[in-house]
């Protein structure tokens, strides 16, 4: 039993996968209340699946990129669950999870994923589509949408970036938010194929913005 969570966007999304299929999934979209909502949502999803936390055998978490505070809530929750339950914790690039959902929904050619990075920027990555799935070719990175090269901006685009910047990213796909169900399916497949996943370590892509203070010349005693 795999629990999957993602808090790298304005959505809080949680799912349980039993190795064959997604058995329960819930999401709150458009929220900034990740701290409040995440654990109650996990509790509710487990309840819906008829499971107790102890029944879980692994936890998967979206590691961003995404707005930092929400992102950390998901990662620290996953890591703590891993510690408390004694189960492994896998990380997945949240943009990959969104790309996987886009593929699962029938996308057949190359596309872009662009999510809200605030400050007039998007987190983005580009994907090739093969018969088996998606393969990330560019990114993840953070940029002003209008400053992305034309050949990327011209691609069909999943993620809220299209809603926020329709002029720069005009070819919107219907997938707007990360789905934990898609993330769980992706992780289950990767584990079965023996592929390695990421550490549950945040992809910040930006440094904390703080300026070291200028030296004040020490007083002469």
């Amino acid at each position: 039993m795999l629990l999957a969570i993602d808090t790298a966007t304005q959505a809080v999304t949680v799912a349980v996968h039993d190795g064959a299929t997604v058995v329960a999934e819930q999401a709150h979209t458009d929220t900034r209340r990740h701290t409040e909502l995440l654990t109650p949502t996990i509790r509710d999803v487990l309840r819906e699946a008829g499971l107790r936390p102890r029944d879980l055998s692994a936890v998967a978490v979206g590691v961003g990129p995404g707005p930092f505070t929400g992102l950390r809530v998901g990662i620290v929750t996953a890591r703590t669950m891993g510690l408390a339950l004694g189960v492994p914790v896998h990380g997945v690039c949240s943009l990959d999870a969104l790309a996987h959902a886009t593929f699962a929904a029938g996308q057949t050619r190359r596309f872009l994923v662009a999510t809200d990075a605030r400050r007039k920027e998007v987190y983005w990555a580009a994907y090739d589509v093969t018969d088996e799935g998606v393969r990330r070719t560019d990114g993840p990175d953070v940029a002003r949408p209008a400053e992305l090269p034309g050949h990327l901006r011209g691609l069909p685009t999943a993620g809220r970036g299209t809603e926020l910047y329709p002029e720069a990213l005009p070819h919107a796909l219907p997938q707007l938010d990360v789905s934990a169900g898609a993330l769980a399916t992706f992780v289950t497949g990767a584990l079965r194929r023996g592929e390695s996943l990421l550490e549950p370590q945040p992809l910040y892509l930006r440094r904390p913005d703080a300026v070291p203070q200028a030296e004040r010349t020490p007083v002469t005693p």
Binding site: L37, L38, R72, T80, M81, L85
Partner: protein, 352 residues
């Protein structure tokens, strides 16, 4: 949820409101395991706590601290009767890391969750050193982020604010003055050391909010920004005149001004409210002059003074576990799993 009401509950406490990641186990009023990581060094070159830097450090330290505290206590996480966590006040992004982790523990271990107030937890720290708090007690809390005068009638449920700083916290004033004197961050300990060789009466720095008019409107409030500005002006005037700055005298006189006004109002609160116990806590409690003056004035006024060891004065998980334990012992209902991190949680909300 398990019934946690017991005489000596084992409570795990998590603190992440500022730059310290603290995790501790408390049984009743006894500290049995205490782990602390600090990002203070990472903030030094910025001259103050950078919230994003602190939040990143909390994420990295949380699991190691849970493991270390558990090993030190000789308890598995599963053994605890309840989880307590600082849910505010503090830096929002920093609080969220601790709150999210605590909730995950509460869910996975099926234990009750207590969201506790950081300021009340500071006051409660001393039960680990000196046993149950006398109630009521006046409490003075002085740290880098807070300066509050409180009256505590019940540490788990009834804390009232008498006053607080209207501008800088006392520790913040220490840090800013240290910078002017060319001393490293955090400046409190450096000023304290420099002050040992100085004359506390050498320079008459102002005592904020002590004029007759201020004592009407701001009887139990504090203000340290005027004091800080006065020190800066005094030092700069010296420098302009090409004269050496007597660092020791400045440090001693500044510290004396801070300690004087802090203790004067705390003792006044005790006297006026007819309360004969004063509890002091927070990082600035380490200050030599503050301790000495508090002891002297309390002795003169017949007030019993309680000050915990320094390790329990600065931010830590032990005080959070200690307060959670008080709540469990009183049979208070736990917080909801939807508990938010509240950066401006009022001190009257002891439990969130």
């Amino acid at each position: 949820m398990s019934d946690a009401t017991t005489d000596e509950p084992l409570v795990l406490g998590i603190e992440s409101s500022c730059d310290e990641t603290g995790v501790a186990f408390v049984r009743g009023t006894t500290l049995v395991g205490d782990a602390l990581a600090s990002s203070v060094d990472e903030h030094a070159r910025f001259g103050g706590v950078v919230p994003e830097v602190a939040s990143r450090a909390h994420l990295e330290s949380m699991i190691p601290m849970l493991e270390r505290a558990s090993a030190e206590a000789g308890h598995r996480l599963d053994d605890v009767d309840a989880i307590a966590v600082t849910s505010g006040p503090g830096l929002a992004g920093a609080l969220m890391v601790g709150v999210a982790s605590a909730k995950a523990l509460a869910l996975c271990l099926d234990k009750p969750l207590y969201g506790v107030n950081h300021l009340a937890a500071h006051v409660c720290a001393d039960v680990l050193d000196h046993g149950p708090l006398p109630e009521p007690t006046v409490a003075l809390l002085v740290s880098g982020g807070h300066t509050n005068l409180l009256v505590v009638r019940d540490i788990a449920s009834d804390v009232e604010e008498l006053g607080s700083t209207i501008d800088d916290a006392a520790g913040e004033a220490y840090d800013k003055v240290a910078r002017v004197l060319g001393l490293p961050y955090p400046g409190g300990p450096h000023i304290d050391r420099a002050a040992r060789d100085g004359d506390p009466e050498a320079i008459a720095f102002p005592r904020g909010l002590t004029s007759r008019k201020d004592m009407e409107r701001h009887r139990f409030d504090y203000s340290f920004s005027g004091l800080k500005t006065a020190v800066v002006r005094w030092v700069e005037a010296r420098e302009r005149a090409g004269e050496p700055v007597p660092v020791a005298d400045v440090a001693a006189s500044f510290s004396h001004a801070v300690a004087d006004v802090l203790t004067r109002k705390a003792v006044l609160a005790c006297t006026e409210l007819g309360i004969s116990d004063l509890q002091i806590g927070g990082g600035v409690t380490a200050n030599t002059q503050l301790r000495e003056l508090a002891e002297k004035r309390c002795a003169e006024a017949g007030i019993r003074l309680r000050v915990p060891r320094i390790r329990l004065c600065t931010d830590n998980g032990a005080m959070v576990a200690a307060l959670g334990s008080q709540m469990v012992m009183r049979g208070l209902p736990p917080s909801d799993l939807a508990l938010p991190a509240d950066s401006s949680l009022p001190v009257a909300s002891v439990q969130a």
